[in-house]
């Protein structure tokens, strides 16, 4: 894997973000013999997707789909990957872009590290594991997760007590406690913004009281609970380790709601709730599973059939809006629901012992603050071109995946290919002009 970069490196394109959109774009550019620099702010490429359990509608394991793409990018002779690297700004002048990068110190020399994890085994400082959504623990120096790429240890400077153990056990002398941040500026002709999404806060609707119960969880936490290599190896609820017997999915808990400033649909929540329900009913055959929803948006290829299968499996779909969630005794939760399903009893209180809130998708990064790329009113990157849906407001800068609005993996991968196509033809035409001139 090529990770050596100096400021005189002139890649044809820079891809910002190493999630599934960035990986697919980078691969589709590199396969056309273009040199690509892939920049990822986390310690591993793979994005949100690598932490998911299984993905709809095929119920493939997410790793099985993501790791081949991660590995293909890592081994591609035309792709250079910088992890732990943030974009501090893009200066665009005369259709030439200078990408200002900040490489954060990992305190491990990647040329020497062989990913043997001896440092990780020897370290006795533990912190909540961000990969496990904080449910498990990870050592202060560790390879980020099992199938991370690069397979290199990274030291968490905030947690490290600099006891020196890792440096002593490292067989290659890779630990460098004095590593400094490094800044470099990369000039390029084309950029693909694939900076992905974040979820809005679990507490965005105070009436749901997520801050008062650890049993009101994020869907990403449930992904880890469902993953075969997850923190507990099975589904337990966070507050007391109880096997949940009644699980509620509260849809549109951070989307389609003008009161919280997110009026749009987050597009993926219906389908992942259905998927998670199916996986839960496999893991916990006795559990009751209820999805409280406004509209089930199973619009993609094979999605409606997936929804019908879930209904046939006995998942309860209750059309209604959850008004309030109150923590009650034993860590359980009381949901105040207004439903259209029961004429005699439209206002109901229902008890569940685990609640998943469908948080809304919001932009993972705001390029408009440090580049000339404009955002639309929804906060995501604006795409003004009628026949080129991946073009931004800046010539030579393109966008792929959830940076341009919520979308699922299938749609993201198609769009990433389209962005790579758009970028490569931009490069091709630009160079043809240079040759003519």
């Amino acid at each position: 894997m090529n990770t050596h970069v100096t400021s005189d490196f002139r890649p044809d394109a820079v891809v910002i973000g190493g999630g599934i959109a960035g990986l697919q774009s980078a691969l589709d550019l590199a396969d056309q013999d273009l040199q690509v620099l892939l920049v990822e702010r986390q310690s591993s490429i793979g994005g949100h997707m690598i932490s998911l359990s299984k993905v709809y509608p095929t119920l493939d394991c997410a790793s099985c789909i993501t790791t081949p793409k991660m590995s293909a990018a890592a081994h591609h002779p035309n792709i250079t990957i910088l992890t732990n690297t943030e974009v501090e700004g893009v200066d665009t002048c005369d259709e030439k872009h200078s990408v200002r990068l900040l490489q954060k110190p990992t305190y491990v020399n990647f040329d020497k590290c062989i990913g043997c994890r001896l440092c990780e085994y020897a370290c006795d400082t533990e912190v909540p594991d961000p990969f496990e959504e904080g449910l498990g623990a990870v050592r202060a120096i560790a390879v980020p997760f099992t199938n991370a790429i690069p397979q290199k240890a990274v030291l968490n400077a905030e947690a490290c007590g600099t006891c020196g153990t890792c440096a002593r056990v490292c067989p290659t002398g890779a630990i460098e406690y004095d590593q400094q941040p490094r800044r470099l500026t990369i000039r390029t002709d084309a950029i693909i913004v694939a900076s992905g999404f974040n979820l809005n806060s679990l507490n965005i609707k105070p009436q749901y009281n997520a801050q008062h119960s650890s049993n009101i969880i994020s869907p990403l936490t449930l992904e880890r609970l469902l993953a075969p290599h997850g923190p507990y190896g099975r589904v337990l609820r966070p507050s007391d380790g109880k096997i949940p017997g009644s699980i509620a999915f509260v849809q549109c808990a951070g989307s389609r709601d003008e009161s919280i400033g997110v009026s749009y649909c987050s597009r993926v929540c219906c389908m992942y709730a259905i998927k998670q329900s199916m996986l839960l009913s496999g893991a916990l055959p006795l559990a009751d599973i209820t999805i409280y929803y406004m509209d089930i948006r199973a619009f993609g290829k094979g999605y409606e059939q997936f929804f019908q299968n879930a209904k046939a499996m006995g998942i309860n779909f209750v059309r209604g809006k959850v008004a309030r969630i109150d923590p009650i005794t034993d860590g359980d939760l009381s949901l105040h629901v207004e439903t259209t399903e029961d004429a005699d009893n439209p206002l109901q209180e229902r008890r569940h012992d685990l609640v998943v809130l469908a948080q809304g998708m919001i932009p993972g990064w705001q390029p408009s603050t440090i580049t000339q790329v404009a955002s639309a009113s929804d906060g995501f990157v604006a795409t003004p071109m009628l026949t080129a849906p991946t073009a931004t407001t800046v010539p030579g800068i393109f966008v792929a995946g959830t940076a341009a609005g919520p979308k699922d993996i299938v749609d993201t991968i198609a769009e990433a290919g389209a962005a790579a196509m758009q970028a490569s033809q931009y490069l091709h035409q630009k160079r043809a002009e240079v040759l003519v001139a």
């Binding site: 062989i114 993609g300 094979g302 259209t340 399903e341 639309a376 929804d378 990433a416 290919g417």
Partner: protein
């Protein structure tokens, strides 16, 4: 021996190609010959040095302790050095490091090694690395075997060092055995005709053609209609841009038609397709006589993009009174009707009827349920969601409201699926504009009937619905017009599906290999999917899908040759009896067939492999009763030698080893 000596360059082949882009007749035979030559060359080299004392080098990695903390690597080296044929066995701390790789390439040169084994981590990480190191030493990279003694040995048997050491030795012995019968292989390179056929001149086809041309790739675009643009030509304003659909198609059509690299054939169809990636032979025919001009053209293309689109669902006569009442129309019919309307008009008249109230019915022909809906003539239900109708209905409702503010609008839906960017606003705005929503359950769709004679003043038609928004109350809504929210059904291309061996899903749309891993590719290499041929999509999604298909074709054309891995089947003509069991078993159309050939002066049937279509699955090898077919790189004798190697007595233990006892 470089591949260039055996396979002619792309340029040389181009020189042979007729100016019209067609391949000279002798080219086909020549191509087959070249494939055979490429395969023979490796064997010839092997035969020339037949039965030499092999010189195998084995390199064992400590992996900085990851392996050597468990496996006694020095003992492994001492033991495998005793295996006949092994001349060198060395241990290194990191074989993958530059010094480690240098050691291998150096030994090949200085010790005349002709086979190499590296025992280290998973081949996933470093098989390519070591093939590279071997090639740098001047050896054929396929005379290399990789043994995983980290993930499969030291990590798996941490608590059993002795067992792990024994396992490592046996696995290496197996690899040495397999290498004994290894033959040098070369990547199969086939000429790549840098031209694409795009079938369909709608939105996706035009976008794919224009994208490819912008990358310098010439395109043949074939459309059966008389003009480019597809269904979009008939529609007015479209969401979310609120621009006229014609603006979008006109922009692309202009680009495509003025592009010298794109040859556009309107009112033509693709009649025949054969061949394989890089080398498809296609014949296109004019749908109308051309008055003496050539009405059939043959061409060779490297890739084919299927942009054959969808058909709008047309309700059966009588379905919701369709074709019974003149004011029951489909959504596309309504969109056409709305195009001429002027904003702010007071009276909406349709087919002579004054329209005061309009009902929109969602999911007509989509989300169909067994037992509720009637299957089509093929016995198929459209169980899928057509993805675009919800937003289109709301957008058209708003347009209707703007043009005729006094018209009442009633919307009958199951779920409002305004999922896309900017689409939720249509729903919000429709609610604000006073559209009245009724929600039905899929099991109990609304019914449309003529209003009883005494009540016709309220409207000629009555929609009856069990409305879940009012807790299941049965409501009757009198209206003057009913718009059926019809969705998309698959395009009708049975001949192409049959000829090109394309797969369709249960929904009847063309089926991709995998929605995430290979979303625009089909099982036939070199054939790509663009737009609604694959399933319902909106305009932006179609444009993106077309871009995704174009980028795969562009990547394929970035290489001068189509490079295929050498692991393909090969027939031993001296053993083959031509009884075709392999052909029956072969799942890849055209990869294996029976040909007549002359053997010892006699014309006999024999199996023949088309390396361009063979994927190396090995199904043929398993069924041949005469062991006359083999998979290069994984020949039966290699398998047997590998098993022998693993199972044989180990050198220096018990009796003398007889590692390879077959033959």
């Amino acid at each position: 021996m470089s591949s260039n000596e055996k396979v002619r360059t792309h340029q040389e082949l181009e020189d042979d190609v007729c100016p019209c882009g067609e391949v000279a007749p002798e080219e086909e035979a020549h191509l087959q010959k070249e494939i055979a030559q490429a395969q023979d060359a490796g064997r010839a080299q092997h035969a020339a040095g037949a039965e030499p004392p092999l010189r195998i080098g084995v390199y064992i990695c400590r992996c900085g302790g990851n392996i050597s903390d468990v496996v006694d690597v020095e003992r492994v080296a001492e033991t495998v050095r005793l295996i006949p044929g092994v001349t060198t066995a060395k241990v290194h701390t990191f074989v993958c490091s530059d010094p480690g790789q240098h050691m291998i390439s150096n030994d090949i040169l200085e010790e005349n090694l002709d086979r190499v084994v590296v025992a280290s981590c998973t081949p996933f990480l470093h098989e390519q690395t070591f093939r590279g190191a071997v090639a740098r030493g001047g050896m054929n990279p396929y005379l290399y075997e990789h043994v995983n003694i980290r993930e499969q040995v030291s990590w798996a048997h941490k608590h059993d060092p002795e067992g792990a050491t024994q396992k490592a030795i046996r696995m290496i012995a197996g690899a040495v055995g397999k290498l004994r019968y290894a033959q040098p292989l070369e990547q199969i390179k086939l000429p790549n005709h840098r031209r694409a056929l795009v079938i369909g001149g709608g939105l996706a086809g035009m976008k794919a053609a224009s994208d490819l041309s912008a990358r310098g790739i010439s395109v043949l675009l074939v459309e059966t209609a008389q003009q480019l643009g597809g269904h979009l030509n008939q529609w007015g304003q479209v969401y979310p841009s609120e621009r006229a659909a014609k603006e979008i198609t006109a922009e692309l059509a202009k680009r495509v038609q003025s592009d010298p690299r794109i040859e556009v054939l309107l009112s033509w169809k693709v009649a025949e397709v054969s061949g394989f990636i890089g080398n498809f032979k296609v014949a296109v025919e004019s749908l109308y006589p051309l008055g003496g001009k050539q009405s059939r053209i043959e061409a060779t293309v490297g890739a084919i993009i299927m942009a054959t689109g969808f058909r709008p669902y047309v309700p059966r006569n009588g379905e919701f009174l369709f074709r019974t009442d003149p004011c029951v129309v489909t959504l596309p019919e309504f969109m056409q009707a709305m195009q001429g309307a002027t904003p702010g008009a007071t009276k909406f008249t349709f087919k002579g009827r004054t329209v005061r109230n309009v009902a929109f019915l969602h999911c007509v022909g989509s989300r169909q349920l067994d037992g509720v809906h009637q299957p089509d003539e093929n016995g198929r239900l459209n169980t899928y969601c057509s993805r675009t109708c919800c937003t289109t209905i709301l957008q058209q409702s708003l347009a209707l409201h703007q043009r005729y503010p006094s018209v009442g609008i009633f919307d009958f839906y199951q779920d409002i699926r305004t999922y896309g960017r900017g689409e939720e606003n249509y729903y919000t705005n429709a609610s604000k504009a006073g559209v009245v929503f009724f929600r039905y359950n899929g099991e109990e769709p609304p019914r449309v009937k003529p209003t009883s004679p005494e009540h016709t003043s309220r409207g000629a038609l009555t929609v009856t619905v069990k409305d879940t928004l009012t807790w299941g109350e049965e409501l009757e809504v009198p209206v003057d017009m009913v718009v059926l929210g019809t969705g998309m059904i698959p395009g009708q291309i049975p001949d192409l599906i049959d000829q090109m061996k394309l797969a369709t899903g249960e929904d009847g749309f063309l089926q991709e290999v995998h929605p995430k891993l290979r979303p625009v590719e089909v099982a036939v290499n070199g054939v790509l999917l663009a737009g609604t041929a694959q399933g319902p999509m909106n305009i932006q999604e179609s444009l993106s899908a077309a871009g995704a298909a174009a980028v795969k074709a562009a990547a394929m054309f970035a290489k001068e040759d189509v490079e295929l891995n050498p692991y393909v089947a090969e027939v031993d003509l001296s053993l083959c009896t031509g009884d075709a069991q392999c052909v029956t078993q072969c799942a890849y159309e055209g990869a294996l067939h029976i040909v007549e050939m002359e053997v010892n002066g006699e014309v006999v049937p024999r199996a023949k492999v088309n390396a361009g279509l063979c994927v190396g699955c090995g199904a043929c090898v398993a069924v041949c009763p005469h062991r006359a077919i083999n998979l290069n790189g994984w020949r039966l004798d290699q398998y047997e030698a590998m098993v022998e190697g693993i199972a044989a007595e180990l050198p220096g233990q018990a009796c003398e080893p007889e590692l390879v006892s077959i033959r």
